[in-house]
């Protein structure tokens, strides 16, 4: 059961681009090692080297002090190494149970799958997360009907069902709410005590300090530091990751906040998961939406953008509006950065230029003004500090943070007056997050109004003037000024206490 794995001086190239030039990682049974690094630092590649998804070009992998070579994920699985993938490895049309036990179904003597046993085993796994997931997550539910957080949980259960010696959690908490993260960490502690080794890849500092025993930091494909987590501070860790310290200076200057006119007034909006939401947003205000995942935040933003049908009234700059198509919202200066950027925010395999121009192509056609389009896109890219080889590169070649910049950039080209953001910093590295915070603050100062949902509580507290907490399709609490504290936010999210002034 015990295991010690050590990767030494690992080199990995993708078509000439060096992803890892000197990657090192050591992990032993009974400990949690945090693998940390900004996006593009090579930590995804590092975990893929360990679990056999990619074959290394140089360096050495030692398992229990013997050199090993994993030609495929199966070879690594045989040694007891299992991974929770960031890009989910689930088959949407198949049931939860079929997904978890795929390729390891218990068979009867005719070769038929023993359904009852599969269901019972799956029930037992689901019970691990009992209380943090909706009761309609059943073994026979098709995965496509699950919300993102529950899909992620199924992915975790799938990896755990292998009873691995080494479990790799690659951004496994990115789409989980705080209660689910809490449960996962309890489980990780239990697994650790049982003697499993765990590699934890995450962008969230707070989580790393909560769960990890040791850390290993990658920067530009090199391991730049490793050690015990209780011997380093958050600040030093960030310094190691990005080589510049200015990250957490995003808090807005408490400047004059004169009463501005009301920009958006929402009254009793009902939609799929919304059960009567009313609020207002002033011009130039940055208002946060908080709460556990799946409490209606997504539907609220989609309804405002005219993407889903709803009932209720919305006033925008004094005029009643009821958008039935995103096009109408766009014409009124609305912009939406959706929650699933690869599927909803981008034409994933198309070029950066095309993605930039998508919402504003009408401005560059009849007659076709390709030169101007290119120039504008280049300027937008430069404004956002977009790291790219060229505008013709497909968006799929960009890292998460840079891809998100393209989503925001395509809207900024239209000069929107109201931005709706659905968890824009999900899966984005610390350095880029800081840039986003600065950008949002700047946009507000320019007079733009922002409605901002985030699953990261610290972000909401540090950035927003006001935070509305959604719970079960309603606004449960509104926090501002002195009531806007982490404690109140968490309490209101869970719907346990009357948090904050109403």
């Amino acid at each position: 059961m015990t295991l010690s794995l050590s990767a030494r001086n690992v080199v990995k190239r993708y078509e000439g681009v060096i992803a890892l030039s000197d990657g090192n990682l050591e992990v032993n049974s009974g400990e949690v090692v945090a693998l940390i690094g900004a996006n593009g630092s090579g930590k995804s590649t590092m975990s893929k080297v360990i679990n056999g998804v990619v074959v290394l070009d140089g360096g050495q992998l030692l398992l229990d002090n013997k050199p090993v070579h994993f030609a495929s994920p199966q070879a690594a699985k045989k040694e007891g190494i299992s991974t929770v993938f960031q890009e989910l490895s689930l088959i949407p049309q198949m049931s939860v149970a079929d997904n978890i036990w795929l390729t390891r179904e218990p068979l009867d003597r005719f070769g038929r799958v023993r359904r009852k046993e599969v269901m019972a085993r799956t029930e037992a796994l689901i019970a691990l997360f009992e209380g943090t997931i909706k009761p309609d997550l059943k073994p026979e539910t098709p995965v496509s009907e699950l919300p993102p957080d529950e899909k992620q949980i199924v992915e975790i259960l799938k990896a755990v069902s292998f009873d691995p010696r080494l479990l790799i959690l690659d951004e496994a908490t990115a789409s989980l709410d705080s209660r689910q993260v809490q449960r996962l960490f309890e489980l990780v502690k239990k697994w650790k005590e049982e003697g499993k080794a765990i590699v934890f890849v995450s962008h969230r500092m707070e989580e790393i300090f909560r769960i990890a025993d040791r850390y290993s930091v990658l920067r530009n494909g090199k391991t730049v530091g490793a050690g015990n987590i209780n011997e380093i501070t958050e600040k030093d860790l960030i310094k190691l990751m990005i080589d510049k310290e200015s990250v957490f200076s995003y808090t807005r200057s408490e400047s004059e906040k004169a009463e501005k006119p009301v920009c958006l007034e929402v009254n009793d909006v009902h939609a799929d998961t919304l059960k009567g939401v009313s609020f207002y947003v002033n011009e130039g205000e940055l208002v946060g939406i908080g709460g556990l995942r799946g409490q209606g935040q997504r539907d609220l933003l989609l309804a405002l953008f005219g993407d889903i049908p709803f009932s209720g009234s919305i006033q925008y700059r004094g005029k009643p509006v009821h958008f039935r198509h995103p096009n109408q919202a766009m014409k009124n200066g609305f912009a939406l950065v959706p929650g699933d950027r690869n599927r909803e925010g981008l034409l994933y395999i198309r070029s950066i230029l095309e993605n930039f121009q998508l919402p504003s192509w009408a401005r560059y056609s009849f007659p076709l003004k390709l030169g101007k389009a290119r120039k504008d896109a280049e300027r937008a890219g430069a404004d956002l500090n977009l790291k790219m080889a060229g505008l013709q590169q497909p968006v799929s070649s960009l890292s998460g943070g840079n891809a998100q910049k393209v989503v925001i950039g395509k809207w900024l080209l239209r000069q929107p007056s109201l931005l709706l953001l659905d968890d824009p910093t999900k899966g984005v590295d610390v350095g880029t997050k800081a840039e986003f915070y600065a950008l949002l603050t700047r946009l507000c100062e320019e007079g733009k109004t922002i409605l901002f949902y985030s699953s990261d509580d610290e972000e909401l507290i540090g950035l927003c003037d006001r935070v509305m907490v959604l719970h079960d399709g309603k606004i449960y609490a509104e926090l501002a000024g002195s009531t806007l504290t982490h404690e109140n936010l968490v309490a209101a999210s869970l719907g346990v206490t009357e948090g904050g002034a109403r």
Partner: protein
Amino acid sequence: MKRFTWNKLTSRYPALFALTLLVLSVLINVILQPNMFARDTLNSNMRVFLPMVILAAGQAIVILGGGIDISVGGIVSIINTILATRVGLEGSAETMWQYVAISLLIGILAGAINGFFVAYLRLQPIITTYATSFLFAGVALFILPNPGGGIPTSISEFYRSSIPLGLPLAFYVIAIILLVWGFLRSTRYGNFLFAVGGKAQAAYETAVPVTTIQFSTYVISGLMAAISGIAITMLSGSGNAESGSAMTLNSITAVVIGGTALSGGVGGVAGPMLGAITLGFIQNIISFAHIDTWWETFAKASIIVAALAIPGVINLFRRRRP
């Protein structure tokens, strides 16, 4: 149970749409042909439908696995021409069974060729099988340039009029296919098939033998096409290199009507088989309605387009309401 919608029903029971359509077409058919449940009428209908039912079952397997097989009609033609030329009208029953066995092998071989290109060389299924369909059609034309040949009358008579225990022979064939599918569906292979058709990359990462599964679907489809070719030869008693050419598109239509998504990973085999029977009844309705021959294809296509559009129209209607 507020959300117990048509959409959810059809996603859980993909064959439901095919069943509804089948009931409708049978009803219309009964009006036009009141004696259709008489044993002889039923038998004469079913023996005509059977080759398409078999073909649709094979096509459904390929489509479930995320591919498509445009070459099935070509395989049917090859089998038809081989049987008609090698066995002959004066042939003995032994030669016939011998060539039935050879036909099955040829079907498997043809399927393996498709499977090799698509699964191992990773070529586009639609283009690859479109190309091989010409290859197969060419072979059929080479074997039998002009319609003719045949198989012993006794054998086609056996196919056409044997009704064991009072039920048409076709029912037994359909029952066997359904039983075999039911078994396959409950094995690990069944799970793999849906996994590969659903999301091949994810299946690969989970150690599903994606290539082997893809390959196998084309082999199964080739085998089913061969059986279909044997059936159509027994039905007609003669050979024609064009006999299969119109069947390919119908087999795909049957699959779609049967609720098996062209994108793969959703549906089953029973639905497409019902779909094939429905197509047969639609053909019947057209013939009984005394529509001018020139308009037959148009009328048939209109019915199919309308049938395919219904779920979409229902959806559109639902979405309009807040």
